[in-house]
């Protein structure tokens, strides 16, 4: 008897030393405690007040041993230090160590309002992980991040808040005032405003669409670098291995390398390199440039082809070689007025058709009817037999 009296008193002495520092307060209508498993189940108008947050919910389970707090039903949490509010259906909060804690919310949807960044995050599942004062937010299932300037939708978003970057996975789209990005995977550097992607991504900006498999878009500078690119603007389509986007006098200037295909209205072609000046709408095809107009059975080859879409003219420089049907004209300079269908070739143009060979100062090809007009000093050889 004395022994257990002593034990009781000892137990009493051991209390009290701790009570002065209490700062987590929970109120509820009812509580069930499984004291063998150290599990507290609170229900009915539950409120939880800690130094970091204030929460109200229908039910709360506290597993003391596992250092886990679970809640369900009408959860509203105001995070004081983090200046944010969360509305959710369920919550599981675990402190794995002093440095690492994890809070998982589910709901349809969970809504996290970040008052500091004036941003709202929604998703069917939101997990907030804090590790060594670094915070990450994982959002899954109809994930949405939006503020007054930006809206991101995705199947899954990982937001590394402390490191200031965001990873977006499948079915992602980023909408801003001046562009829409659709992607299967992208990394967004929040402060630098740079988007890096290694999955197929489509950028729609005004009347331009760029689809690429890998690349980087600098939102501040409005420039893009990408691989395996398809560029589309109105009637122009360029497919290339690489795209570099520069700024010239504040205007966009694109450099396409290893161009596989260029389609401009009814013309189709390719070149080693293409430069495209967006504002002037001028396409400059360099090195082994080639375009064809199948409707006219017309091929144009040149070292350099310059297509002025505003003027609807094509300038040819270098080793120019034109073929329409059975006629071939070679020269070193030329221009093609697409409106009048006139191809004017200078720079020692040479006309060939079968065994006919003619040199002239200027050769003009009407691509609408395949007629050729030669001007200036003309020298040539005609195969009369064949003419008969």
């Amino acid at each position: 008897m004395k022994a257990f009296k002593f034990f009781l008193l000892l137990f009493l002495f051991n209390l009290g030393y701790f009570n002065l520092f209490a700062d987590i307060v929970i109120n509820a209508s009812k509580m069930e405690v499984d004291y063998k498993n150290n599990m507290f189940n609170l229900s009915g108008n539950v409120s939880l007040n800690t130094k970091d947050y204030f929460m109200t919910t229908d039910n709360l389970i506290y597993k003391k041993q596992e250092k886990t707090v679970m809640a369900n039903g009408n959860i509203v949490i105001e995070f004081i230090k983090d200046k944010r509010r969360v509305n959710a259906d369920t919550m599981i909060r675990t402190k794995e160590s002093l440095a690492r804690e994890s809070t998982l919310f589910t709901g349809k949807p969970v809504r996290l309002v970040d008052f500091e960044k004036e941003r709202t995050i929604e998703g069917n599942l939101i997990r907030i992980v804090k590790n060594d004062n670094k915070e990450s937010i994982f959002i899954e299932g109809n994930a949405v991040v939006f503020d007054d300037k930006l809206k991101i939708n995705s199947d899954k978003i990982e937001y590394f808040k402390s490191d200031k970057f965001m990873l977006m996975y499948t079915n992602s789209s980023i909408k801003k005032d001046d562009y829409i990005i659709k992607t299967e995977g992208i990394k967004y550097l929040e402060d630098d405003k740079i988007l890096i992607f290694d999955k197929e991504t489509r950028i729609d900006k005004k009347d331009i669409s760029i689809v690429a498999k890998r690349g980087k878009y600098d939102e501040k500078q409005d420039v893009i670098e990408a691989d395996d690119v398809t560029y589309i603007k109105e009637n122009t389509k360029i497919v290339s291995d690489k795209l570099l986007n520069l700024k010239k006098d504040g205007n966009n200037f694109y450099v396409f390398k290893d161009v596989k295909e260029i389609k401009d209205k009814n013309m189709l072609g390719k070149a080693n390199e293409i430069e495209y000046e967006e504002k002037k709408n001028i396409i400059l095809m360099k090195t082994d440039a080639f375009i064809e107009d199948k409707s006219k059975d017309l091929d144009i080859r040149s070292d350099v082809i310059r297509i002025d879409n505003n003027e609807d003219k094509v300038f040819l420089i270098g080793s120019v070689n034109i073929r329409q049907k059975d006629k071939v004209i070679s020269s070193s300079l030329g221009y093609y007025d697409k409106k009048s269908n006139k191809m004017v070739l200078t720079g020692n143009p040479v006309y060939k058709k079968g065994n006919d060979l003619t040199y002239a100062q200027i050769i003009i090809l009407d691509t609408s009817n395949n007629n050729v007009v030669m001007q200036g000093e003309i020298k040539g050889r005609f195969d009369i037999k064949k003419e008969k």
Partner: protein, 178 residues
Amino acid sequence: MKRLKIFIFILFFHYCSQPKIEEPSASKEVNRFYAQNYTYVSYKDDKPNMFLSSESVSYDNNSSNFVMENIISKIDSGYNEYSYIVAKKGMYNLENKVTTFFENVKIVVEERYLLEGTFFRWKGNDSILETSEGTPVMIKDKTGLIVNGYNFSLSVNLKKFYLDNVSMTLPESENEGF
């Protein structure tokens, strides 16, 4: 805190000291008896499941009640776990095996929780410890947890207790799950 320690030490020595045995009063009725330093052992399934010690006890065979003062009790919770109760006053009913503890009641539940209140009832047959409706209870544990509430009910068999209108306070700690 010092005052509490001194008080509890005094209480401790008081319990351990042997008071004088007084002669039974001549005015007591025949159907009652009075004793001092009394220990009562209650059995369940041939095993002792409750030890009741009190400084004084009187028995009324009309109501089958033992009325006790300055009680210390030990309750077997099974699996070699025990609960301890101290109270200023108490009453044990021999027929229904219900023990009621009054005034300054302190209970240590299986070395886990300290309960404090003015009224507790131990139902020996059901192994249930409870308060009457509307009675406040304070619960503490060694980590500094404090719970205040009403309508306390504890089932030793289920290892669970229930409480209404709860206010729970936990100590400031960086690693409690909150």
